[in-house]
């Protein structure tokens, strides 16, 4: 697969059309699996890693997983291409930075990704747009079952699926939703929400790892434990809490509109104005402003921007995406290029943005 073909498309999970996609950006399920006959990745020799990669790549190619998959040899990718895959959430940062034979198989919609030789031999991920944890779980089950026909996963009757880190043992499942919670941040209720999630053993993380509010009010909620409950129960544990969070965020948005409409409208309009006219802008500021504009679109305060556009910009204004979009232009800095890209994107929004885009 040529990565350049991905540059001009966006993943299915960014469509912004699934259930409750005003708040739930995406739903993701991943399974950690290891082959029984090889050491775990951190203990594997170069030869072990190469053998594991080859065995998994060949077997995965030989079974139908419900989707046509393209295989990317991550071990031989340039750094910018590895970063690009991280930004698209198709591989993890650790997978990008690791050494030795490794790869990822992905489908054209970017819903399914299978990382080979990450922390575990195999990490299967299914990501859907909006709130669709059950859909993602049903899909990943098919992939897992198909692969299990042709490999022997490391399994112990009492411990379940054996993983390199004991934090993943048992089901090896991580169920997560990515939520956009700007109103809870603005009304300063977000900490209270996090505290209550922590009490019920759910983890909260930011969009790309652990930086949180600075990354535009996007948060991931996921299960922390993987043993002692069935996969269905763990999916349900996360699924149960999401409607509550959606309700809190909607109420906070209603409150903002009702009580501080002028102020909110001003914040959103300023954010939109900066994005359309800035000459240089950091990644962090872009995320923060896109978050506000996204809320503005959903509150009906901005009429001419599509949700999927904002979702897509959140990814396309990341450093590796920008660098790929601009080709080999090394003279221009990321921040200048990002501002130019945003101006160009919003060109046509009104006469002022058209004038400043050039």
């Amino acid at each position: 697969m040529r990565l350049d073909t991905l540059t001009n498309s966006i993943g299915e999970w960014l469509r912004g059309t699934g259930p409750d996609s005003d708040i739930v950006m995406s739903s993701r399920v991943r399974l950690a699996r290891n082959l029984a006959q090889f050491p775990f990745v951190s203990r594997a020799t170069e030869q072990d890693r190469a053998d594991t990669e080859r065995v998994l790549r060949e077997r995965i190619a030989a079974v139908p997983v419900g989707r046509e998959l393209d295989y990317i040899d991550v071990g031989h990718l340039a750094e910018i291409d590895r970063r690009f895959l991280v930004e698209r959430q198709l591989i993890s940062r650790e997978h990008a930075d690791a050494q030795g034979a490794r790869g990822v198989a992905i489908d054209r919609l970017e819903q399914v990704s299978l990382m080979i030789n990450e922390e575990d031999h195999l990490r299967i991920q299914c990501m859907h747009s909006g709130l669709d944890l059950h859909g993602a779980w049903e899909q990943i089950k098919v992939v897992d079952d198909q692969i299990e026909r042709v490999v022997s996963y490391a399994f112990h009757p009492r411990w379940g699926y054996l993983t390199a880190c004991p934090t993943n043992v048992g089901t090896g499942i991580r169920v997560s939703v990515m939520l956009h919670l700007p109103a809870l941040v603005i009304t300063r209720q977000i900490d209270k929400v996090f505290r209550s999630l922590h009490k019920i053993s759910l983890a909260v993380r930011g969009l790309y790892g652990e930086g949180s509010q600075a990354m535009g009010d996007f948060y991931q909620i996921s299960n922390q434990t993987t043993l002692g409950r069935t996969e269905d129960e763990l999916v349900q544990q996360v699924a149960d809490v999401v409607p509550v969070l959606i309700d809190y965020e909607r109420r906070a948005r209603d409150f903002l509109v009702r009580e501080t409409q002028q102020n909110v409208h001003d914040q959103v309009s300023r954010a939109y104005g900066i994005l359309r006219t800035a000459q240089t802008i950091s990644n962090e500021e872009t995320m923060q402003l896109l978050s506000r504009v996204r809320m503005g679109v959903l509150l009906g305060l901005i009429g001419d921007v599509k949700l999927s556009d904002i979702n897509s910009l959140l990814i396309r204004t990341q450093p590796a995406h920008l660098q790929k979009l601009r080709g080999g232009d090394e003279d221009s800095s990321d921040d200048i290029e990002r501002a130019r890209y945003l101006r160009h994107h919003f060109e046509g929004g009104d006469s002022q943005s058209r004038a400043s885009a050039n």
Binding site: R28, R30, A32, A36, Q37, P39, F40, S42, R43, V55, R59, Q89, I91, S92, E94, M115, E118, D120, Q125, E148, R149, V150, V151, S152, Y153, A154, F155, H156, P157, G160, L162, A164, C165, P166, T167, N168, V169, G170, T171, R174, D191, F194, R195, H198, R205, G206, G209, E210, G211, Q213, A214, Q220, S222, Q224, T225, L227, G228, R229, T230, E284
Partner: protein, 197 residues
Amino acid sequence: MKCQQCDNPAVFHITELEAGNVREVHLCEEHARVYLNQSEGGEGGDSGDPGAGEGKGSKGGTLAGSLGVGQTAEDLAILDKRCCDMCGITFFEFRNQGRLGCPHDYLQFEKELDPLIANIHGATEHTGRRPSRPVPAGAGDAGSGTDGLTAIIGLRRGMKEAISREDYESAKDARDAIRAIEDAWMPPAAKAGEENA
């Protein structure tokens, strides 16, 4: 804003929730990595996972590091030297990295892992999905598990060592044993693909 540990700009703003208290930590990327490795639980990131940065773990590491509590230094020193018959990892190495070396470690260090896993998950029994493929008869003492197949890891290591000391007889025995296990265990499609391994 500057990193609380150095003069670089803080790019990670972490809100820690500890026993009902909220604490904010502002760090540069490098210090955030160290901090999160010390304090955050596995995957985060699902680091391991794309996007989310499931932060990789180190709840396992931290807990593994604290396993020594309640043991005498002497007990711990003995425990630390124990190593896996298959992959050769010592318990000390596991305590240090928070990552196990191979599937057999779960049997080799079962007694030590039991309280650690109970601590992490609040449970010690898997109740989820199980592989549907039957396990060969006489697969060893792991019952319906795959430890019989994991024995290949030890045999492969032994074969390599035998070759390095030019003991080709032992190397051949190990190779034959590996083939016998593969014949008994591997799914048909798997064996065909394994020929070149």
